[in-house]
């Protein structure tokens, strides 16, 4: 038992540093800068600790905590994305005078919660991790507490998310009642016989999960929360919890519910199609860039869920690649949003980008690459993300899903290239305020190079991902 502690070193290290930071921040005034930097530094350390953990698919603490390639991969992805989010949003946080030391600490707590979500092999641990993450996210959404919209976003997110957590918990308790265990493997064995109670439980849990990844029809909070929260928080929301959400989604579908594939498959197909269509259609008229990316992320979640809905091994691997490329694209996108600052104020209106390619040719080119990648145009990485998804979808013979999915990419291409149009075809306005911000530039360049050179060797991650097994 005590040996199992060794496997938890990354998590323990993370929680210890959270405590140290809190105590340090309480006793020392104006410690935002220091703690922020320390947070940025400890993330690579945690990555190193995870990589250093050599094990082979073990489950510790009475089979409640799973350590496998899947969880390590997802944790590293979460950490890397958070790293980029942190380095690019620092200047923004200072500019909106939100430099409280709690900000990075809460982000770390959210990451800790995601770690437990990703690794959970037990309903209780899963729920604890989820709530740890969600509570941190409520605070983050309303962190700009003097701003009405931020507070509104926080409240809105809290109320709706609490409702979905309630449904999720109800589902969990039903599942426990009907299968007699909270352990995923035991549930998986007992759930086999068709039982109306477990199906109810499965649907309640699906609703909760769909809410967390903002899939239609549980997406209503997304645009408002994305728009209302400070952009630094939005960038975190759009990337990191989505990774964790999709990871949990995969684990639920492939572990406790794997034997009732025919029960959940069509629900997921519906969720997927609805998300793709709504995300594509509703984004067309958006003028606010954060609302636009909210709808865009809804439609991207649709594609990711399409991969899961196949129920096959290639399906969930394609989803992993999808979420990876999705994070890279959103890092680039938000890095650009952090650049959109004119006369001391951050702007969010798409029309304000008009003619920016003349004033900032390189930044505009980078956003162009990101946008075409989001639209899924080859040879950029976004195409391969969709390609892998539709490979597995068509392998499972779901042609209708594939056709609808690809047709909606055309619709969504419209609003992505509308931004390109504003940047390149319209007449220029005043340039953005130029500030040296290596975090933003670095993230933007990283994202662009990743997206535009992915085609040279698209199987770069296949080696790692092929090691990931279905649980």
């Amino acid at each position: 038992m005590i040996n199992a502690i060794y496997f938890l070193i990354p998590e323990i290290f993370l929680s210890l540093s959270v405590f140290v930071f809190i105590i340090f921040g309480v006793f020392k005034k104006n410690s935002f800068d220091l703690i922020y930097k320390a947070t940025i530094i400890i993330i690579p350390v945690v990555i190193f600790l995870i990589l250093n953990n050599n094990f082979e698919n073990i489950k510790i603490f009475n089979n409640s905590f799973a350590l496998d390639e899947f969880s390590s991969f997802m944790k590293i992805l979460i950490l890397v994305s958070s790293f980029f989010v942190l380095i690019m949003s620092k200047k923004y946080i200072q500019d909106i005078k939100n430099n409280k030391f709690e900000y990075p600490v809460i982000m770390l707590i959210a990451i800790l919660g995601m770690f437990f979500m990703v690794s959970s092999n037990d309903l209780i641990l899963f729920y604890l991790g989820l709530e740890l993450q969600s509570l941190s996210l409520y605070i983050l959404a309303s962190i700009d507490r003097d701003n009405l919209r931020s507070s509104e976003a926080g409240i809105k997110y809290f109320v709706l998310s609490a409702l979905s957590s309630g449904l999720l918990l109800y589902g969990c308790s039903l599942l426990y009642g009907f299968t007699g265990s909270t352990n995923f493997q035991v549930i998986s064995n007992n759930v086999g016989d068709i039982n109306i109670g477990t199906i109810f439980a499965m649907i309640f849990i699906l609703v909760g999960l769909a809410f967390k990844v903002s899939a239609v029809p549980f997406h209503m909070w997304t645009p408002d929360v994305y728009e209302g929260s400070p952009t630094s928080v939005t960038s975190f929301f759009a990337i990191v919890p989505k990774i964790a959400g999709i990871a949990v989604f995969i684990r639920f579908m492939y572990s406790p519910f794997q034997n009732i594939l025919d029960q959940w498959q069509y629900i997921l197909v519906f969720i997927s199609i609805a998300s793709m269509i709504l995300g594509a259609v509703a984004a067309i008229n958006q003028k606010n860039i954060k609302r636009l990316i909210a709808y865009s992320s809804i439609s991207h979640m649709g594609y990711a869920i399409a991969g899961i809905s196949t129920g096959t091994e290639s399906g969930f691997k394609s989803t992993i690649i999808y979420i990876l490329i999705y994070s890279a694209m959103n890092i680039g996108f938000f890095a650009f949003v952090f650049l959109m600052k004119r006369s001391g104020k951050y702007i969010e209106d798409i029309n304000e980008l008009s003619g920016i390619s003349k004033n900032h040719p390189l930044a505009a080119l980078s956003l162009l690459i990101v946008l075409f990648s989001l639209a899924g145009i080859p040879p950029l990485a976004g195409f391969f993300a969709k390609f892998y998804i539709f490979m597995s979808v068509i392998e499972s013979g779901m042609y209708a899903l594939a056709i609808i999915g690809l047709v909606t990419t055309v619709v969504s291409a419209f609003y992505y290239i509308r931004i390109v149009k504003v940047m390149y075809f319209d007449s220029p306005k005043k340039p953005f305020e130029n500030f040296k911000n290596y975090g933003v530039y670095g993230s933007l360049i990283f994202s662009c190079i990743f997206l535009s050179s992915f085609f040279m060797y698209p199987s770069i991650f296949n080696g790692i991902i092929s090691k990931i097994n279905i649980f």
Partner: protein, 498 residues
């Protein structure tokens, strides 16, 4: 392994584009460095392609200069290779791009550097389309071309450029996504996306029709065939001269090439089944768009509609499945690539001087621009298919092939020849002859050296291939034979089975 010449010609322009990107402009207007780098790259590529043509073994039906590499491990190999059909298109591409570079130096006033980068990147994608022997790689290059073309139309285009660019982008994207589904389905049916393997394995008959339709949706939009041709006139009218040239000369040919390589090559049965559909659409395209062309008052729009009509001959020729028809279709594409490029350049010459594309604004140009009028004459005659120009060879062969297969279709298609003469000669008459009324025209200067060089070199090729098309036939001959043999074998095999 030999020197990877196909990858070199494909990716050389991309490297050139990178160096153009690094150049610094001396002032807002002038950027000599960018011009020299792109000229050097495009000419170097052209000579490489000439060398490739020279060293290409014209007597072998196999794919040559094949390059293979692991790309997506376990799924897809990166595979390049050419046969007699593809090398002709590569040649055309490599010839047209330097011409575009030269012409845009005169006509593009702002952001020249970005324009040159877009053209060079586009060259990479276009050559990649003709080189690739793998469906996914093909799709990659086929779609990737949308990005630079979208920007070329949108940034440097005319007043309605936004509408046209969006229409172009969304139309072609919508057409292509179905092809992607078909490609992935082929992978799961045959276990490979390597075209040569698929030729051997052969796609089962029950899947062919649907897959053919999916590919057709993409190629028909790109070609463009009636009734999905409406994006083309818009795109042509708004695109800058060099953009129109690339669009007409090469981008449209990708679809024709796709029909030959994929539709006919992989789905012979479905191709035969859908021949009446293609014939109908082609004949409608030939007659209807010729009539529409007659009524245009914008020169570029007129040429755009004539392109649709000429592409009608190409599809007609390809789907006759006999040697005359297919070779005629290929020669027609090649010659249309030259002639339409030249016509757009000629319109560009007038537009640069008088800033109008409306036919009514001109008249009596011959008095002011005698050299220009003479050269335009060659291309006008080429468009209507006068014997002695390359336009004649292709059209004639297509009609011969069509008469063999279907008398009615051939007769109807022949009407198009008459209509072509009507609209293009009428255009020539209204623009070049008549009274000199517009004062703006009186101040125009005749062709300068670079325009002269470009137009004369195309003119020489048009006449040369009109009198002596042997080099073209020589190149495609064996590959077309091979294509037709495979097609007939497959049809016979399946009819025996039935």
């Amino acid at each position: 392994m030999n020197f990877p010449i196909l990858s070199s010609i494909t990716f050389l322009p991309l490297i050139g584009a990178f160096f153009v990107f690094l150049t610094k402009s001396e002032s807002n207007q002038v950027n000599k460095g960018a011009i020299y780098v792109s000229l050097f790259t495009s000419f170097a590529n052209f000579f490489l392609v000439l060398f490739l043509w020279y060293s290409f073994d014209k007597s072998s039906p196999n794919f040559q200069f094949v390059e293979e590499a692991v790309w997506i491990s376990g799924f897809i190999k990166f595979k390049f290779g050419i046969d007699g059909i593809s090398i002709l298109f590569i040649l055309l591409t490599a010839f047209i791009i330097p011409i575009c570079v030269i012409s845009c130096v005169n006509s593009i006033k702002n952001r020249l550097k970005e324009f040159l980068i877009a053209i060079l990147v586009l060259e990479t994608f276009m050559i990649g389309v003709f080189c690739s022997l793998d469906l996914v790689i093909f799709y990659l290059f086929f779609e990737a071309g949308l990005i630079p073309m979208f920007l070329i139309i949108g940034i440097w285009g005319g007043p309605r450029r936004v509408y046209s660019a969006f229409k172009f982008f969304l139309f072609t994207l919508l057409g292509s996504v179905l092809m992607l589904i078909a490609i992935i389905s082929i992978y799961w049916i045959t276990g490979t996306t390597d075209v040569t393997e698929i030729y051997k394995i052969k796609i089962p008959a029950e899947f062919q029709n649907l897959l053919w339709l999916a590919f057709f949706s993409s190629f028909a939009v790109k070609m463009p065939m009636w009734p999905v041709h409406t994006w083309l006139p818009d795109a042509h009218v708004e695109a800058p001269t060099a953009g129109s040239v690339i669009l007409a000369a090469i981008l449209l040919k990708m679809a024709g090439y796709g029909f030959l390589r994929f539709s006919v090559g992989m789905f012979p049965l479905a191709s035969e089944y859908f021949t009446p559909l293609v014939f109908t659409l082609s004949v409608i395209a030939i007659i209807y768009t010729s009539l529409v062309a007659l009524m245009q008052d914008d020169m570029k729009k007129l040429i755009a509609y004539s392109s649709v009509a000429h592409m009608g001959y190409v599809t007609l020729g390809i789907f006759t499945f006999n040697k005359q028809g297919i070779e005629g279709g290929i020669i027609q594409m090649f010659s249309h690539g030259l002639i339409s490029a030249a016509l757009f350049l000629c319109v560009g010459v007038l537009y640069d001087r008088a800033h109008s594309r409306l036919i009514n604004n001109y008249g009596g140009v011959v008095n002011i621009l005698p050299k220009y009028s003479f050269i335009l004459m060659i291309f006008v005659l080429g468009t209507l298919g006068l014997p002695g120009t390359s336009g004649f060879v292709g059209e004639f062969l297509v009609l011969v092939g069509a008469f063999k297969v279907n008398f009615l279709v051939a007769i109807l298609a022949s009407i198009g020849v008459v209509l072509a003469a009507a609209y293009i000669l009428w255009l020539y008459k209204r623009v070049i002859f008549g009274k000199l009324e517009n004062n703006q025209i009186k101040e125009m200067k005749d062709l300068n050296k670079s325009e002269m060089g470009v137009l004369v070199s195309i003119g020489i090729l048009v006449i040369f291939f009109g009198f002596y098309p042997e080099p073209l036939f020589n190149t495609v001959n064996v590959s077309v034979d091979n294509l037709i043999n495979n097609y007939n074998m497959e049809i016979n095999r399946l009819s025996v089975l039935k």
